[in-house]
Symmetry: C2
């Protein structure tokens, strides 16, 4: 059975003239299905709508998109209560050339995937990371968005695969900490919780937003600002966020090791209370 759907029908192939194939002209979201519901759906929809607006792609009808998502999960072979859904929005099919036809030609594709839960030991003891040598370009017009132009992440990720590291942290070309290849990053320094500003590059993850909002609603300040890589190494704790795994402490980055994560544990407890069940370990 197909894992991809278009207009609620199986779709394992796309037109070679699709602009996603030719130019990476589109966006995507990877959504955790938990207890049969797309978790943080409104945040995914917000980011998708913002991305469509910035790329001048017509925003899909959200009610229809949600129906297609439910149909895809129902028709797939995966566990409908616990899986991952990837929504790809392409700007559509066009003739050769960078110029698009009309924004209304956009197409949605929905893929359904099994997800393996991250091992409990990782939630308890933290994960191993390293700083990638791949640097993110500065002042990108697509900063913050989850577009289909992902070569930087592909190249950075290839560094971590070779090292069997859980995640690679990426810096920008000015050596500021930005995010992981598939996650956002927070540091804890003198009881302050800080996450890098993403206005020059990087992706604004939905779990990052949920963590910031959960903490602030609980009266905990979160600073969003530039973070030099030296602050990463000098920090008291580091943790990662991602739509699928929620929050994970970082145990190591290169030679730097963090053995205790008291503030991260508090963050995880608050996130567990606010719908992110994985954090209750």
């Amino acid at each position: 059975m197909s894992r991809w759907f278009h207009d609620s029908e199986p779709a394992s192939l796309v037109s070679i003239d699709d602009r996603a194939f030719q130019y990476g002209d589109g966006l995507f979201e990877t959504i955790a299905i938990r207890n049969g519901e797309p978790r943080l759906w409104e945040y995914h929809v917000d980011r998708l709508a913002m991305g469509c607006e910035r790329l001048s792609i017509a925003v899909p009808d959200i009610r229809s998109l949600r129906q297609q998502l439910d149909d895809a999960v129902g028709q797939s072979d995966e566990n409908p209560a616990y899986c991952a859904v990837k929504i790809v929005i392409s700007s559509g099919v066009s003739a050769r050339g960078y110029a698009r036809k009309r924004p209304t030609d956009a197409k949605s594709y929905i893929g359904v995937f099994a997800t393996l839960p991250v091992a409990v030991e990782h939630y308890r003891g933290g994960v191993e990371t390293r700083v990638c040598s791949t640097r993110l370009a500065l002042f990108s017009v697509i900063a913050g968005l989850k577009t289909l132009n992902r070569l930087e992440q592909v190249i950075a990720r290839s560094e971590t695969v070779a090292q069997s590291t859980f995640e690679g942290l990426t810096l920008d070309a000015d050596e500021r900490l930005i995010c992981g290849t598939m996650s956002n990053v927070f540091i804890v320094s003198n009881q302050s919780i800080i996450t890098p500003s993403l206005h020059r590059c990087g992706v604004e993850g939905v779990m990052r937003r949920h963590a910031i909002e959960t903490l602030r609603e609980n009266g905990t300040a979160v600073e969003i600002r530039d973070v030099d890589v030296s602050e990463l190494y000098c920090s008291d704790e580091v943790f990662l966020t991602n739509s699928q795994f929620g929050v994970l402490p970082v145990r190591r980055c290169g030679e730097r090791v963090w053995r205790l994560h008291p503030v991260t544990r508090q963050v995880m407890a608050k996130m567990a209370d606010n719908g992110i069940a994985e954090c209750a370990v």
Copy 2:
């Protein structure tokens, strides 16, 4: 009849799991077929091989690729003596996630397209351009390469379509002139010929290389260096290069108009002598 081919067979569809569709994970070349031959073939092959090496994609067998190109042109409906061929190299099909399987999974797709010659008036009197407000990100790990991550060009191009301008010139985030959305740019200043350095962003076009080498072989110096946008407006002449049209004088950029192009005419004469027939006008 299909305009796209894979392994010398018609191929109008690709797998939705193709990494070119999911991440823009690949490269392309757009080659002018003139007198039945792929013009500047060796330069296209050089750039493709450099791109594959930098992206860790297996370099395709060039002899086989050339055979597939000839087969595609022969099987297409287009004029086999005068058309455009687009070669897309994808890193291949993989499971979800940024990590690739093996570099040897790369796939080649070849598209054949009609090309309309640019009007003779444009070669004689020059084309209209403008500076796009879209800025290119700095210090890109894929600077110089013609990858499938082309959102910056798509966004910049959309500005020029709205204005019915022939080409949009793009600056980097530090206001340096870099290139056009589909061309490279040269300026003439006090008899010096200058083209922007492309080590931070931009695409190193094959016709740019051919122009630089042709001029240098003729004893004419070409400076490759950073060019502030102010130098564009203060220049005596501006011209564009592109694999399909060769060399075109620029008549206008925004409010700035250049009516005479004596140095550009000399460049075009040398290019016409060196295989670029369009320049003989």
